[in-house]
């Protein structure tokens, strides 16, 4: 276990962390860095790359669904594509996106620390992530072809199929290990490296969200790890643990899979909720309403989220008693989630709201996520779920909460922290247009899925009955709108990176510690470790805003 190191701060004008010359030069200064900010940027590059790959696959899938029957790909290709889309989006984008990119970059600064507790372990996590990603890519071009099991790897099919399941599953195992180490690092960082005066209830809510997330990462991921190892062993040696022909029980696999994978959806959404709790007070010029309930509700979601995995198995043949209990517990998740949404809206009330691009994404998030949450109730209730399960309704719900939740907030965080991370401003007007464009595309793409799912369109089919075609055409057109909006957004950010004007230290009037350091931050985050005397959202003294008024 490596210990954190702290160097003596430089006494002259600070040089930002991009331009500081360390022990290594050029590309090695990135590949061997143990600076949390550089590791955050490394994650950003990799995460965006995988997002674009999986997004392209999604576009191809929508294109195939344009007309009934074979449009331009074979059923086997379609099966492989939806598996790939799911695996890449879940394991390589959604899970690491906010914690690994923005958590790495901003958690230590928000806590008033120079780095995370274990900087070397942090770099190791990134390498494990990259190795996992590389293995996933290698698995496409080796063995028996691209995996076609769906991202859930359900047995017995994942044991039988001749496609390259073992390597892909091993990739997921390695990625899980990266997640565990990041979680472990963040928990110890939050416990040990808060600056003087930074009590638990003076931490920014983003840090609280990461704290809850990290506990889930540490406590849930090992279960999927062993389950995936068992699939590999099953395929290699036929030990029979999950194989029904020799006495195994496939249902136990589903339990083991969802014991991790349901808490995992909170790994995906909690950090995003943390970001929302940062952006709303900043652009409402107001302290957050209900700080303590929001902070505690993160832990509440993490706790209750542990006990609801059975709702993925309502139609798998589990007992009625357990179905009723799991359904009831599922409804409990709505309580802490509702606490958050009501507190955000209450923060907006009587605030002086500044609708900038990040704020626009957050408002979009609240709208989309509410639809996602409410449709989740229809799936959490037993009787409606039996009608809706395995239809496009589930696909729609999933994308409303995951893409509409995590994805949209990933965009919001990019816009919110872009000036701090890169020291440049982007074009605000284009960013706003892109946000609205994405909002329109998103709803055009995913809303028809609720209707056709309700009418009985099953998911994961490359073919469909002609009466569903209108909805599929609308959705496919929506995918074009959405993707063009996303491309405009990325293009605008790239333009900002290349020719944007220099960003001030605190462009938004933010109150947390990252806005007190220069943009981009210096190598050592703080010359002198700060001492905190108030809560995180105190708008009475804002760093860098005095001269503007």
């Amino acid at each position: 276990m490596a210990n954190g190191t702290i160097a003596v701060p430089p006494q002259t004008a600070e040089i930002d962390f991009y331009n500081v010359r360390g022990r290594h030069k050029g590309i090695l200064s990135w590949l061997l860095t143990i600076d949390h900010k550089r590791i955050g940027i490394l994650y950003l590059g990799s995460v965006v790359f995988f997002f674009l790959v999986a997004m392209t696959i999604g576009v191809f899938m929508r294109l195939e669904m344009l007309s009934p029957g074979e449009t331009f790909m074979k059923p086997q290709t379609y099966n492989s594509l939806f598996t790939l889309h799911g695996v890449i989006m879940i394991f390589l984008f959604i899970i690491p996106a906010v914690p690994a990119v923005f958590g790495n970059f901003f958690l230590p600064i928000q806590l008033g620390a120079q780095d995370v507790q274990f900087p070397k372990l942090n770099l190791l996590s990134w390498y494990l992530y990259i190795i996992g990603g590389a293995l996933a890519i290698i698995s496409l071009f080796s063995g028996g072809g691209i995996m076609d099991t769906g991202w859930t790897f359900y047995v017995p099919y994942s044991i039988r199929t001749t496609t390259n399941v073992s390597l892909s599953v091993f990739a997921a195992f390695v990625l899980g290990f990266a997640t565990i180490l990041t979680g472990l690092n963040f928990i110890t960082t939050i416990h040990r490296l808060r600056c003087p005066g930074m009590t638990w209830f003076r931490m920014p809510l983003f840090a609280w969200a990461l704290y809850a997330t990290s506990w889930i990462q540490v406590l849930a991921t090992p279960v999927i790890g062993i389950t995936l190892v068992l699939i590999i062993l099953e395929r290699a040696f036929g030990i029979g643990v999950f194989d029904p022909t020799i006495g195994g029980d496939p249902l136990l696999y589903q339990h083991m899979f969802w014991i991790y994978s349901h808490p995992a959806v909170y790994i995906m959404i909690l950090p995003a909720m943390g970001v929302v709790s940062e952006i709303i007070p900043t652009f409402s010029k107001k302290a957050i309403f209900g700080y303590v309930p929001i902070a505690i509700s993160s832990l509440g979601i993490a706790l209750v989220g542990y006990l609801v995995w059975g709702h993925h198995m309502f139609s798998s043949g589990i007992s009625d008693t357990s179905r009723v209990i799991f359904s009831l517990l599922t409804f409990f998740v709505a309580l802490p989630s509702g606490i958050k949404v009501f507190n955000w809206v209450a923060t907006l009330y009587k605030g002086s709201i500044d609708v900038t691009a990040p704020m626009l994404y957050v408002l979009l998030f609240i709208f989309i996520f509410s639809i996602g949450g409410l449709t989740g109730l229809a799936l959490g209730a037993l009787n409606t779920d039996l009608h809706l399960t395995d239809t496009y309704f589930v696909v729609g719900h999933f994308h409303y909460v995951m893409f509409g939740g995590m994805g949209i907030i990933f965009f919001a965080s990019l816009h919110y922290w872009f000036p701090k991370m890169f020291g440049k401003m982007y074009n605000e007007k284009v960013a706003k247009v892109a946000a609205i464009w994405i909002g329109i595309g998103f709803n055009t793409l995913y809303f028809p899925m609720f209707i056709m799912g309700y009418l009985g369109m099953p998911r994961r089919y490359y073919d469909y009955l002609p009466e569903f075609q209108t909805y599929h055409i609308i959705a496919t057109v929506g995918s074009w709108i959405l993707v063009s909006g996303i491309l405009v957004m990325f293009f605008n950010l790239l333009q900002g990176l290349r020719k944007g004007r220099k960003a001030p230290d605190n462009p938004w009037g933010g109150t947390t510690l990252e806005w007190t350091v220069s943009s981009p931050p210096p190598m050592e985050n703080f010359k002198i470790i700060p001492e905190v005397t108030t809560g995180p959202y105190d708008h009475t003294h804002i760093h860098g805003q005095e001269d503007n008024k």
Binding site: V8, G22, R192, F237, I239, M256
Partner: protein, 210 residues
């Protein structure tokens, strides 16, 4: 981290040591290990419930004496790890290394015993898809499937633990880990105890319950 800037060179670094944080990280890692095995224990519980007769029958095939010897060996090794930490704290480097050598030897003997145990099973055709296993009932086959996975994964952990301890021994020899800076030794000790505790559960579940 030491670094140079255009205008100045800063070389002096203060190594910030946080033993408590380091130990905390190790404990979190141990939680993940417990949950890793926890998944297997859940499977064991589930299948024991479904196939209680098969499990009882298969358990008689294991050699209780060999299992008991291995249990004693592992418990002894946990003791020697603790003694090694105390010895180092009392600044007795050689004694500490001596106890760690005993720990390593215990690990090695444990693995040799396991090798003979598994070897005998394989010899009798008891392995996944093996001739003897295919004639057994589903419950017995499941028992041995879990037996090989769980003791195999445990054996792997013994090897990793021996690797950790070997690394720590090297660092003690080089005077990097000392009487005032022994957190790495304590962490590897914690890991070793975990491996031990998991065996404490595996032993009765596979060997003793008939």
């Amino acid at each position: 981290m030491s670094y140079n800037t255009d205008t100045q060179e800063i070389q002096e670094t203060i190594i910030h040591r946080d033993d408590f944080g380091s130990k905390m990280g190790m404990w979190l890692f141990l939680f993940t290990e417990i949950l890793l095995f926890g998944g297997l224990f859940i499977l064991y519980a589930g299948y024991r419930y479904i196939y209680s007769d098969g499990f009882a029958a298969a358990a008689t095939e294991l050699d209780v004496l060999l299992g008991t010897i291995n249990t004693i060996i592992l418990l002894t090794s946990s003791l020697t790890v603790v003694l090694a930490i105390v010895a180092l704290q009392k600044n007795n480097k050689d004694l500490s290394l001596f106890f760690l050598w005993i720990t390593q030897a215990c690990g090695l003997i444990f693995m040799i015993n396991k090798y003979f145990e598994w070897g005998a099973k394989f010899h009798h055709g008891i392995y996944p898809k093996g001739p003897a296993l295919q004639n057994m009932s589903e419950g017995e086959a499941m028992y041995f499937g879990l037996y090989f996975v769980m003791t195999g994964l445990h054996g792997l952990h013994i090897l990793v633990g021996m690797g950790f301890i070997g690394y720590v021994m090297y660092k003690i020899k080089k005077d990097v880990i000392t009487a005032t800076n022994f957190q790495k030794l304590e962490n590897s000790g914690l890991y070793w105890h975990l491996v031990d505790i998991i065996w404490i559960f595996l032993f009765p579940l596979f060997y003793l319950i008939h």
